[in-house]
């Protein structure tokens, strides 16, 4: 079987060989898989935050969902994928800690809503970017309060999602 290549936080990987790209233990992070099923080119980005908002993401586009998606698409095109055949899937964006209300009141900067909401915002930012680039979203396994490991088969676009207490699924 194909080799497994890990895609760590803020990393982007694309491949035109039959390969398994894996992001282990996604919490609020979001993994976006984009692939061209005809050319059998696929890739994965493992983003930590939703939007770069003009911040310098030059050296690390994979840190943000929006710049990560854009950069992954470029990489795929370079590898021979065709833009109009690209399809996408999103995994992750959970909320791991339910902070009791008031816990953040003294920490200011609206810290509470920022952190407890980050998973959902990561997913939203990824979707928005995909829509902007007109790449159809064909499946997702997002939200909840549990961690996930995602494995993308770059040849087929098939994704295996595993969790500790919420079973496994293919999308």
């Amino acid at each position: 079987m194909s080799e497994v290549t890990p895609v760590g936080v803020a990393e982007i990987r694309a491949s035109k060989n039959s390969e398994i790209l894996a992001s282990y233990g996604l919490g609020s992070c979001v993994a976006v898989a984009i692939f061209d099923p005809m050319k059998k080119v696929g890739g994965l980005v493992h983003a930590l935050l939703p939007e770069s908002r003009g911040r310098d993401s030059g050296e690390n586009p994979g840190k943000f969902a929006d710049t990560g998606v854009a950069s992954l698409v470029e990489k795929l095109i370079e590898l021979g994928a065709r833009r109009r055949f690209l399809r996408s899937k999103i995994v992750g964006g959970a909320c791991m800690f339910e902070m009791p209300s008031g816990a953040w009141s003294s920490s200011g900067k609206d810290g509470r809503s920022f952190l407890s909401d980050i998973g959902r915002r990561n997913v939203e930012a990824a979707k928005q970017k995909l829509e902007e680039l007109k790449i159809p979203l064909v499946a997702e396994d997002t939200g909840g309060n549990y961690g996930r490991t995602v494995k993308l088969n770059t040849e087929t676009g098939d994704i295996e999602v595993n969790s500790l207490f919420h079973g496994s699924t293919h999308i």
């Binding site: 996604l26 609020s28 791991m96």
Partner: protein, 208 residues
């Protein structure tokens, strides 16, 4: 305050100072824990280390390893957060000790969570207390939040708050023995921007 560019390398003197804080903190924690469980609690000399964020999951056996995490925000004169990571088996034994019985069935899940939250609160409070005495800085901690899941997923949450500031975290490894049962835990301090240099300065070992 001038922000010194920090390259992630601490001198051995600085490591020693942080380890000493860890020592005193762990001592405080052991006393507090032993009072709660009414059992003898021994502790090893903690290891203090500064690690790049990406290396943290490896401490507990990789990003997919099941762990219990207790997360607290720290505020006051300096800011940051604290995460107590316990290996799953260690967490289970610790919870059993806390409530003084075997927590076998599912109904006790809530009790177990609650016991572990309290443990996290005690340990982090003990550490902050030591840090406060030695630095003269004032810290407060939030109520604890709890999750049992993959180590990577739990760390994600904490990383988000720090991704835009420090790339290094202070890890104090604690190794307790309660009645001969080994409880392995990692107390991870995530200082907000500039906090670590303030702490080191107060400890008399500033970043040059």
């Amino acid at each position: 305050m001038s922000e010194k560019k920090f390259d992630g390398v601490l001198s051995s003197v600085q490591i020693d100072a942080l380890r000493e804080v860890g020592n005193i903190g762990a001592g405080n924690a052991a006393i507090a824990l032993s009072e709660m469980v009414e059992k003898r609690v021994e502790l090893s000399v903690p290891k203090a280390n500064l690690l790049p964020l990406a290396k943290v999951p490896a401490l507990v056996g990789g990003p997919e390893t099941p762990v219990a995490g207790v997360y607290l925000r720290v505020f006051g004169e300096t800011r940051g957060s604290i995460l107590l990571l316990l290996e799953r088996d260690s967490a289970m034994s610790l919870a059993d000790f806390m409530v003084n019985r075997k927590l076998g069935n599912f109904d006790d899940e809530k009790l177990r969570r609650s016991a572990l939250k309290e443990t996290g609160s005690i340990i982090s409070g003990a550490y902050l207390c030591a840090l406060s005495e030695l630095t003269g800085l004032n810290f407060k901690q939030s109520v604890p939040a709890f999750a049992m899941d993959m180590a990577g997923a739990i760390l994600d949450h904490v990383l988000v708050g720090h991704a835009e500031c420090e790339d290094y975290v202070l890890v104090v490894e604690t190794d307790f023995k309660v009645e001969g049962v080994r409880i392995q835990g990692h107390l991870i301090l995530f200082p907000d921007l500039g906090t670590l240099s303030v702490i080191l300065e107060r400890l008399g070992v500033p970043i040059e």
